[in-house]
Symmetry: C2
Subunit: 425 residues, 2 copies
């Protein structure tokens, strides 16, 4: 079986290394040899001799490589929307199965790619696209087919999890933690994709699409970054027996689904609370299977390549047996993705208040006026330091933000010192 490898950077060079190292095992598991027959790169002149691959395997003509008649399977680890999309749709149209790690493309164009796979009678696998080596796409795609997933809570970005972990452990500021992450190589030179939640949003779209058997577009995902987190927020969480984590959240209820990426407070006892540093984890709540968690490395060339190789074995086996893995079209429904205002969320709110009788009642009445009921209220400090700490029950997010707007205008309230969504209770 002959493979075209498109891209040979962090992930691609590890795909090359592992496939060379495990040639015999892969042949045993597929039933025939699996060989890289061509590698597309952008820079023709770059020295890649350390890979130990014959020079003439490299080409800058990716589409020519995809179309070569001897190529059976295409592995795309270049990234970006175009030209990756053209390569993949060309391969699928020619009946060549595709393995990709390209979360950005899948989140932007998943349905078109799925249709192309179906039309070409070819497979499209992308285990590495969300959470790298953690088997997540496959369980969502296969294991829970007989169940109903109600919620997925995930820490799917190592950079932001590292930053939040360090802010919590060391009491340092966002800027200091980001600097540390850069120094250690956890954050890229331009950290925007991570800290503003774009990377996590793409993964959230993939996860929600599989979990809810629908097509969730990147534009459906509500996205908030972590750049505004303050040490005061971190301390407020700790005081409330919680910890702040950068979450990807996909949930459903009777009137639709909600997919969002934002930092949130979770209880210290939650399985995700102890997932620190650059690790990723995904927590799933299914109607029958109950609460499950998957944990592991969410990035890294070798880890990602491991998932890519697993997919290569699957599509190669399917190819030999004539099987294809696409689900029946009826398996996909169009489900309403609710805007953030309609999503049911919970809030933690701390307020600096005037220390006089009736302030608690006035604040509580403001929540009630917007239809938000309260789970707990704590009054702490006296005089200048008087504070109210409120945790609400679930309510539509817009009712919570309207409440906050009104609270800020109350003369009894000096300031709203910290607000944060709460998850995982």
């Amino acid at each position: 079986m002959k493979i075209a490898l498109l891209g040979c950077g962090t992930v691609g060079s590890e795909v090359v290394r592992l496939m060379r190292m495990r040639t015999t095992e892969l042949a045993d598991r597929v039933g025939e040899t699996v060989e890289i027959a061509g590698i597309a790169v952008r820079r023709a002149g770059k020295d890649r001799s350390h890979l130990g691959v014959a020079d003439d395997l490299f080409t800058t003509d990716a589409i020519g490589l995809v179309k070569r008649p001897d190529i059976d399977v295409v592995v795309e680890v270049a990234g970006g929307i175009e030209p990756a999309k053209s390569w993949i749709t060309t391969a699928l149209a020619e009946g060549k199965s595709v393995v990709t790690a390209n979360k950005a493309l899948l989140a932007a164009d998943g349905p078109a790619l799925a249709d192309a796979a179906r039309a070409g009678n070819a497979d499209l696998y992308y285990e590495a696209a969300a959470a790298a080596a953690i088997p997540l796409m496959r369980p969502l795609r296969d294991s829970f087919q007989g169940d109903t997933i109600n919620q997925v809570l995930g820490i799917v970005n190592g950079t932001t999890n590292y930053i939040c972990s360090r802010m919590s452990e060391a009491g340092i500021s966002y800027g200091e933690a980001l600097q540390e992450a850069s120094d250690l190589g956890y954050a890229e030179a331009d950290p925007t994709a991570d800290v503003d939640g774009y990377d996590a949003a793409a993964k959230a779209a993939l996860i929600a699409s599989l979990a809810f058997h629908t097509h969730v577009d990147l534009s459906d995902v509500h996205r908030e970054g972590i750049a505004d987190l303050t040490p005061a927020d971190i301390k407020a969480a700790a005081d409330a027996g919680r910890v702040i984590k950068p979450l990807c959240i996909a949930s459903r209820d009777d009137d639709g689904i909600s997919v969002r990426v934002h930092p949130a407070m979770i209880p210290l006892g939650h399985p995700l609370a102890n997932v620190n540093g650059a690790y990723n984890a995904v927590f799933i709540e299914a109607e029958s299977a109950g609460r499950l968690m998957f944990y592991g490395a969410g990035a890294g060339g070798t880890e990602t390549a491991s998932a890519v190789l697993g997919d290569i074995v699957t599509v190669a086996r399917n190819r030999r047996s004539g099987a294809r893995a696409f689900p029946p079209e009826a398996a996909y429904g169009e489900r309403t993705v609710k805007p953030i205002g309609k999503a049911r969320t919970r809030y933690y709110v701390s307020l600096e208040v005037v220390d006089e009788p009736g302030v608690l009642a006035r604040v509580a009445a403001t929540f009630a006026h917007h239809g938000v009921s309260l789970a707990t209220v704590h009054q702490t400090g006296r005089g200048e330091d008087a504070q109210l700490v409120v945790v609400t029950h679930y309510a539509p997010d817009e009712q919570l933000t309207a409440t906050l707007d009104e609270l800020k205008r109350l003369s009894l309230v000096h300031s709203v010192s910290s607000t944060m969504r709460v998850e995982g209770d």
Copy 2:
């Protein structure tokens, strides 16, 4: 698609309930309706009206049901070796794919069943057999095909994990914790299969077979139960910054694999250390994917039925598309399973010793004499209470047990107060 359900107890009755509840979703996901066309039970007269199933679906003639020409897929949730084995081999021989949760049978006769599936061109799926609803068989079977798994550490029995958790949390004895487990329904009337490790050993055989691409027989699994655990062991672990967990361990090195079930001390910081009560978790260390963990409910009718339904959807889809999932025969190798004496393990040992100069040197020399090197030695207490606490490096288990035998005979050693294998560092 017509299904024969063999067994309608804890798991089977939940399969019935969930399939009725999710009829539409299952049809969407498979591409045609999936219907239970017959249910085999042992007791004909039992009232099962609460299931809402037509009386004439029930039969005590399981093999007749399997052979019925209209049956496409067989789901075995009765348990035990025979007659389950005959039902399953008959189904496979007729080209009917089988879903089973029967760990005992798979551990005893896995290779014969795999051969029968191949010969009959039928699928054999068993996600529910180890760790119930936690997707574990599928990731092992598919996701890690391009990787090399070095070690699996699992908490795969909820009863023994509950007992160990309670002994640690509440400082109670093994007998008291077992009684609690019985009162709460976590332990069966006859708890032997759980506390003596038979249940975990069967799961260990399945896990090791998939992880190492070989056939590990139940008889290859070294098995020790938890009935000898004492509060002193629990306290010794806590003093050493560890916790005792009932583990299933499958590991490999250059000279073979080792599969075993026994309690062991793991560091408090290990991901498995916080898995408490009736929960299960499996920790995997793969060469490229790194360290991963899967966590969830390891038993329960509904949870197990969720996994069974996932398998039903998979085999039904495969059936429609003409695909079968069995791997090429070359994917399986015969690998040496080492007896426990040759397995490389580490020990924690605490000794009551005579308080005189040279005792530490004498004890250390005894370990050295057997080729066991030491990681840490702590000397605590004075006079009557003098104690040595030793943690070794990895060495063949027989060298460690020989060392212990010799230590017990030393006049400087009053007694060996606690010995326990150590894992997960």
